[in-house]
């Protein structure tokens, strides 16, 4: 992976640290939710045909109208630039797919669309009363979607008929927000459906409060609702016991899946990208393109590494940054990183003890104290040397690193990676990092989905490109 400018040697080492695990197994052959599954893995076992060509491109009348249009150019105080946008959940029309159709919502005309995969033609559309910023979720023939009007809608996926709708924060008012008339309590987490339960959060400002909700997916009846004072924006993720909710520029919040109680706010650089890989949640892209990794067991932040996004397949992690794509032996790396983390924790403890000893030694002249100080310094030097050694070993875990002009999106289908760039999308051989296919697209390829032998690419111009076997 490339090293950002002005990064310290320590930070360089941290860039190389990553802890990765297996992606949750995916049984379905379609792409029913944002980034394929509730872990947002971006990985499908379904291979795509070897030779892809564009079948159609669907360009809605209006391009996306994002809620947030990006950060300042620079951080003057820290002399950091360019800064990463940390709220990009609605910069393209993200699609979900089954075998027949693709579905997406529009932040421009407030509608939910169903388009036919064979032709790209619109089959039906449904009006909500506010911008739809995140992709729907498809489950058992029903489509679940949240809107800036404050409602979750459940539609018949075949016809677009409304089955039920639910307002997360009742009786709130509408106001001009992000240049539209919208609810003070919009639904900007998408709707995560697992089994027979639909989860979502509503509310935007922590001081106004919001709700974490679990509904019966069949009829919209409330399973539980929990007030929250978190500002939640970005796709929800779910593990067996937890819900993870991105908080825009901030770090994700962790909620208990049983009752919506807040478990923890994670630490790090923030951002609305997140992926759950068994025992780890990865999120970013932070201020200038960093992914944080936190243990789902302890909710402690473990490592930070450079990148905008990543996918994991088996023992290998593929990481995407502004200028490179890289693959890493995650198993060995994780082992080394864990050892290093333990040593770093030890060092912190030793530093505290050394401080106390030095203070005592300054207060009174005592040969034993002096000897203890000397011993403590020696122990610290020992840990420091071992950490340096581990860092060096971790550097050798990189399997390959390739320059890349595709920094915006990364998914994996079968034995190929697909990466989005400006004006084109590329297929990459995961064994070598070599680019094996490219195709032009209209704008920046910000998100992708795969199903039924088709690759759908969503750009910031609002275009959805469909690539399939030539």
């Amino acid at each position: 992976m490339g090293i950002p400018r002005r990064r310290t040697a320590g930070a360089r080492a941290a860039v190389l640290v990553i802890a990765l695990c297996l992606v949750a197994a995916v049984a379905q052959a379609d792409w029913p939710t944002y980034r394929h599954d509730n872990a947002r893995s971006g990985v499908t076992p379904e291979p795509l045909p070897g030779e892809l060509g564009e079948a159609w491109a669907h360009t809605p009348r209006y391009r996306p109208q994002p809620a947030w249009q990006g950060p300042a150019r620079t951080d003057g105080w820290h002399k950091s630039d360019p800064l990463k946008p940390r709220m990009i959940f609605d910069w393209a029309f993200h699609v979900v797919m089954d075998e027949q159709c693709a579905y997406f919502g529009s932040s421009a005309d407030d509608k939910i669309y169903c388009i036919e995969l064979a032709t790209g033609a619109e089959r039906w559309s449904f009006f909500t009363e506010g911008p739809v910023r995140l992709a729907p979720t498809l489950m058992d023939g029903k489509l679940y979607v949240g809107s800036d009007d404050g409602y979750v809608y459940c539609l018949d996926a075949a016809t677009g008929t409304l089955l039920w709708k639910f307002q997360g924060v009742p009786n709130t008012y509408r106001l001009p927000g992000n240049a539209r008339m919208m609810s003070l309590a919009p639904v900007r987490t998408g709707v995560l459906v697992d089994g027979d339960t639909a989860y979502f959060c509503s509310g935007l400002f922590s001081f106004e409060g919001g709700q974490v909700c679990a509904l019966n997916a069949a009829d919209g009846q409330v399973r539980w609702q929990k007030k929250t004072n978190q500002a939640l924006q970005g796709y929800l993720l779910a593990s067996k016991d937890r819900l993870y909710a991105p908080r825009g520029r901030s770090n994700p919040a962790v909620f208990d899946r049983e009752d919506g109680k807040l478990v923890k706010l994670l630490e790090g650089g923030g951002g609305s990208f997140a992926v759950l890989v068994e025992d780890y949640l990865f999120y970013g892209p932070g201020k200038t393109g960093q992914i944080e990794a936190a243990s789902t067991a302890t909710n402690e932040q473990i490592v930070t590494f450079e990148g905008n996004a990543l996918v994991v397949n088996g023992g290998i992690a593929y990481m995407q940054s502004d200028r490179e794509i890289a693959a890493m032996d995650r198993t060995r790396y994780l082992d080394l990183a864990s050892q290093r983390k333990a040593l770093e924790d030890e060092m912190e403890s030793l530093q505290d003890k050394l401080g106390e000893l030095e203070k005592a030694a300054r207060a009174q002249s005592d040969a034993q104290l002096d000897a203890d100080v000397t011993d403590m310094v020696r122990q610290l030097e020992d840990r420091r040397a071992r950490i340096a050694e581990l860092s060096a070993q971790m550097g050798s875990c990189m399997l390959w690193t390739k320059p890349s002009a595709h920094p915006y999106s990364l998914i994996m289908a079968g034995d190929r990676l697909f990466a989005g760039g400006t004006g084109d999308v590329a297929a990459i051989d995961p064994k070598t990092g070599d680019t094996t296919w490219t195709a032009p697209v209209n704008g920046r390829a910000l998100e992708m989905a795969i199903s039924g032998g088709r690759l759908l690419v969503s750009t910031d111009e609002g275009t959805i490109h469909c690539f399939t076997e030539k």
């Binding site: 400018r5 002005r6 009348r61 209006y62 391009r63 996306p64 109208q65 994002p66 947030w68 249009q69 990006g70 950060p71 300042a72 150019r73 620079t74 951080d75 003057g76 105080w77 820290h78 002399k79 800064l83 940390r86 709220m87 529009s106 421009a108 005309d109 407030d110 509608k111 009006f127 009363e129 506010g130 911008p131 008012y173 509408r174 106001l175 001009p176 927000g177 992000n178 240049a179 539209r180 008339m181 003070l184 935007l204 400002f205 922590s206 001081f207 106004e208 004072n229 500002a231 924006q233 908080r247 825009g248 520029r249 901030s250 770090n251 790090g268 650089g269 923030g270 932070g286 201020k287």
Partner: protein, 955 residues
Amino acid sequence: MPVRHCLVPLLLFSLGVCPAWAADGPVAHWRFDSGHTVEQTVADLAGHAPATITGPVKFGGTAASESLLINKADNLVSLPYDLAQPALPQEAITVEAWVCVEQTVEFCNILGAMQDNGGYQKGFMLGFRQSNFCFGLSSAKADDGDGLITWVRDRESLQWGRWYHVAGTYDGARLCLYVDGRLVDESDKQSGPINYPAAASYLIGALADDDSKFYWRGWIREAAVYDRGLSADEIRARYDAARDQFPTRLHVAVGPWVERLGRDRMRVSWRTEYPSPTRLVFGDDITALETKESPGLATDHQIEIGGIEPKQMYFYRLAFQDVEGALHWTRLHEYDSTYGFWDLDIQPGPFPYASAEEQARYGAIADRLIKEAGVDKGYALIIGNGEGRLAYELAVRSRLKVVALDDDAERIRRVRKALDEAGLYGVRVTIHEGRLAELPYGYYFANLVTSESMLEDGRPPCTKEEMFRVLHPNGGLLMLGYRNAADPAEAEHFGKRRERWMNTPEAPEMADTAEGETGWMSCRRPALPGSAEWTHQYANPANTTCSGDALPGKDMRPLWFGGPGPRPMTDRGTRAPAPLYADGRMYVQGDCRLFGLDAYNGTILWELDFPDLRRANVPRGSSNMAAGGPTLYAVVREKCLLIDGRTGGITATCDVPEPAAVSRHDWGYVAVQDGLLYGTAVKRGGLFIGADGEWYDTKGDESEKTVSEVLFAMNKNTGESVWTYQGGAVIDSTLTIGGGRVYFVESRNPALAALDSGRFGDEIMEDRFLVALDAEDGSLLWEQPWAQAPAVYVHYLMYSDEKLVSVSSSDEWNVFCLNAVDGSQRWERKYHWNRDNHGGTIQHPAIVAGKIYAEPCLLALDSGEVAKDDILGRGGCGTVSAAGHAILFRDGTHTIWDLNTDRREKWADLRPGCWLGIIPAGGLVLAPESSAGCWCSGTPMQTSIAFALPEAREP
């Protein structure tokens, strides 16, 4: 050996350069042009130390001034750091360069080898700190004994885009800095051999030591190092020998300024004093700018540029070649097309009218409504949307966003479809389903409230109070049309119903006029009772930092939020000008950009990109904006622009008047009151303009005060001079108007004239006078020596209730209260601050209802009695702003302190900037985005936002 290394000696040979330079010549000498550069290597004309360019090698300029582009972190020039080499002299040194800085940064190197890491400071550097050239050096025998680098510095700010000859000399005993052949500063604190660090980077065009890296943008033509201190005559001779090679700065009367016309189009405008063929060069490659078009002989110049690529940084400058062929140019300006990337170009399609007559009728009605409302942008609310005809016509005939409420689901479905097919749904028109009697909206947002259903059935769709609740103060129009019944009995019946509806006691008075078949009931909402304006940096010309707005307090809720976001805003730390509010609009200054916003719904009414609009470190100077009525007075360089607050159009310009001169002075302070426009003339270079992360929180260079040579008043409409005052050096931050007087502190230190600067530090503490002039005619009312208020950090004056309050800080806060009529002292207080960082020493107090809120003390204005000594408890930087019963400040996030209940509420999620960014005005709390550039992952959003009370409290 790489090819390029073989070529360097060949090149030197071919140029006839003798490596054994004359004994008194330079020990290193680089000319950064294509003739002396091979691939990445620049020959050393002295034969010792060829320079290596890392990154792109791009040259620009004329043939005579061809020079290397230093483009921030993209490239830099490095030299071997070998203390044995001649290019690092040991006993004495002269460093000189010809440079053109296009964009300064907080601190940067032109040529040097240095470590400046807190207590470890060694080596030398010729460069600039913020906008001031400087030369620093550490020697073995520092006379001041601190072992650190001593800096000499030019007091005058360098001008971006202007070529300079800069030289630093050290002869073993004396450190000198020369700019354009003129000695600008010197020091004898260092002596003996140069004290070099063991390891350092020897760089040209960038600063990189162990704890910092800084990069700048500009051009370098030539640099040289001598192993002796050149004399003043030698420096002057070197400057004179080359000065005519370079383009000179082109001065245009106004501008340039940029307006975005669409996603891929923009317009660049400027005005010249005389008809002249200035041209615009523009492009995305600094070294290959193209002449877009020559508008010919004119004073008003406008060029539209198409094909703007999204998310692209463009560069442009104005240029002019005189009859003798000499080139004159403005500095290089940037245009960031990222902002506006998402804009839509909406081309409405037809609407399925039942008949041409119906179409004509609704078109005429929409025209009438738009004309009466007097707005083109903002929100229109249609209660009772009917068939959507009025929504369609309003949308296609204006830029209003139309929000419509209806209660018939089937009709809504039908109309949505029609509007969607017309390309308007969502982006311009939204229909909500709900009961008409209870509007599901917050307060005040609608510039126009009307109804289509009432046009057809004559029935008001909901109560007048409910309509009025959402109506925009300061001119929002509630206008309901109805069809006059042809039948007299029916007309009388409906007339009585309307009369009953109109005359409900809680509601405002409405006019009812019948014109032909259509009657109109209407009223216009005035300003909210108890609301007030915020027209100057500290609320008003009296600098009370209190709007007196009676409405802000506890329990306020979001009224609107959204743009402008952080992208176009000034970095949070630069203590930039406060937003203003007048006549229902808010004015926000971004990074060289002005926004006019509707304060009640956040609509961005207009924006102007003004590359020369910039002001920083307001506590040590002044804001560059004031508002009055419909006009915004915005200062750009030596001019005050009168901008129509409704449209953003520049309606007039005013120059600094004589005896100031537009060639030497910038317009500093600006205020408007009682028909007069007040201003000051500051020597060019005296204003703070930094926006590169400077924080202006400490003392030293950044606590110097901007001073003016001329104080003046002119007719605010015509620009006709009314009076001028010229005495000492007027400290801009003290200028205060109240009680018909203008107050200020000035220094009459005779030594100031020789220093020839618009910015001073300790020098203006000498011979200070507190002066009061008649605000109408400028005559002297009273003056007195004013030595008792040390002001190392800041110096403010405030006026309230015929009392003049002086607040300054040095080792502690010094507060004096005087009788404003005659200057006699009423009381004084001294107390310490809570902390000397994060604005603790520069807080601007607020005067609210006879009390001075001056962190950490609360003082009685009458007596100076300390009611509390632990108020506020700010978290982070920033300063207070006050309403009639509330204080706004930063306690980590936006925070309001309700003075009636002594209760504080924090609006988490939102981080203010580092100075005054939240204003209580118009009955609202207005907080445009001001945290730009902040890491702050603790605040999930960066947004402009306004808060209002759910129900307007009576004052």
